[in-house]
Symmetry: C2
Amino acid sequence: MGEFELIARHFTRPAPAPEAVVLGVGDDCALLRPTPGHLLAISTDMLVEGRHFFAGAEPEALGHKALAVNLSDLAAMGARPLGFTLALALPAADEAWLAAFARGLFALADAHACPLVGGDTTRGPLNLCITVFGERRPGQALRRNAARAGDELWLSGRTGEARLALALRRGEAWARGELAAVADRMDRPTPRLALGQALAATPGVHAALDVSDGLAGDIGHILEASGVGAEIEADALPVAPALQALDRPHRLDCLLAGGDDYELLFTADPAAHAAVRAAGAQTGVAVTRIGRITAAPGLRVLDAQRQAVPLRTRGFDHFAAD
Amino acid sequence: MGEFELIARHFTRPAPAPEAVVLGVGDDCALLRPTPGHLLAISTDMLVEGRHFFAGAEPEALGHKALAVNLSDLAAMGARPLGFTLALALPAADEAWLAAFARGLFALADAHACPLVGGDTTRGPLNLCITVFGERRPGQALRRNAARAGDELWLSGRTGEARLALALRRGEAWARGELAAVADRMDRPTPRLALGQALAATPGVHAALDVSDGLAGDIGHILEASGVGAEIEADALPVAPALQALDRPHRLDCLLAGGDDYELLFTADPAAHAAVRAAGAQTGVAVTRIGRITAAPGLRVLDAQRQAVPLRTRGFDHFAAD
């Protein structure tokens, strides 16, 4: 089977395209018509075998995850998805793999009305690069540089389960529990799109990002961009049942430096507290106040006695010595 | 050096961003403001080491080429560039390599006022994935499905030199000539952006694509999408001086099935002949009438006696048996 036939079989779909897609897969470019007056939000993520996922990872989950991590960036900006492109390097044209990958990819794409509009396939070490497009009214995008001293610090959902799943798969000695209870949190993250859009429309919500490389590391991007600091109350962090069995240091590692969480971390004026809770309730996502933004720079993680909790690891860095 | 420092050093630039870029590198998403009423054109291409370029390829040229092949897709649509994202997998964080790569990349980006607006870097087998965004007035995009029987068939520039450069590098027995005379045509292709935009604004220009996988193969995309056929006059194809020394079969192979040409192949009403010539003259790109579109399906390549020229190879297919 040739490249063009391969593309046609798995990535061309008869489904009617949303109105914004003037031209989809199959020409030199896709053509989109954004809503007049809106800004276009764009994000790109590359997933490499052996780095972002294990060799032999289940292709349906991989299709889901490759798109989910990109949609999560749109969610963090409060943007509504318009479409995405997929560039795919494959070691071989494996029909069964492609069919399963496309199934996982399109199930998530359909759930968010985010069609595939273009792409590229080639032979090479397995590599998935998705670029996603969304839109947002000007002035409503949630940016990293908008946190203010005095803001409450909020987290959607829970962090740490994906890190525990990784540890169980790797057989790390400290890990406890059933992989089945946490595997989906690693393999099938849920982009918080509805919540992100609701927050962007909530007055008083200031800065946001999606937590992908660990909470304690990623928050640094907000602090740096906004010129502020933060306190996180370690005991305020929501803890999944699967993490209860861990000793406290490893539990905190998972919560604060796990990575692969794809939850929204955001700041809001305390006066918006009830509105933030309402946005969470309206979109079916738990939101938890986990600390506050301070004028003093730096991040402090405090226990119930307001003593500093030592952080043993920071966010994941692809080029740190390892 | 860590991932974030690496990004900051080589891919964050102080240059003032064009007005369309509301937010560039450094947040969850980039934010663009397309011109009101315009359509957004999007294309993505992935370049893999050992597949699209030799291991050890000169990084400055690679930076140029990775963006050029994407801009070529915008050119084929007649779109004006707005910006691009870069996702990059690197085996290691090699400072000198990155500096040279960024130099080549940004030189071309600056020449076309097409800023880097976002990206992703990770460790992995060398892989470059660029997604490019442009815009075009509705109704002026050059699509593949718009060729009409009776149209003249046109080619910008010349094909075949990149294929000869590849053959000389590989030491293929039939190749003749100096690599230096053709290397840039393989390493530093010129996206025909100004010509594409001029053609899109020329009444009577119908279909277009950029020739990347060989003229005789790529034309099939226009023929299939438009439900037409074509005749190419072999002796009308422009021949670079470097190709004159080749025997006729290999010369025709280079011209018709070379690949990596990044020239525009387009069709236009014969009444637009002078306007097409003017668009070429105005943008400084040679344009040559190389045949015509026919109602009868299929592609025929004819010699001066209107005898069929046998085609030994077709366009490049990344998953064909090889």
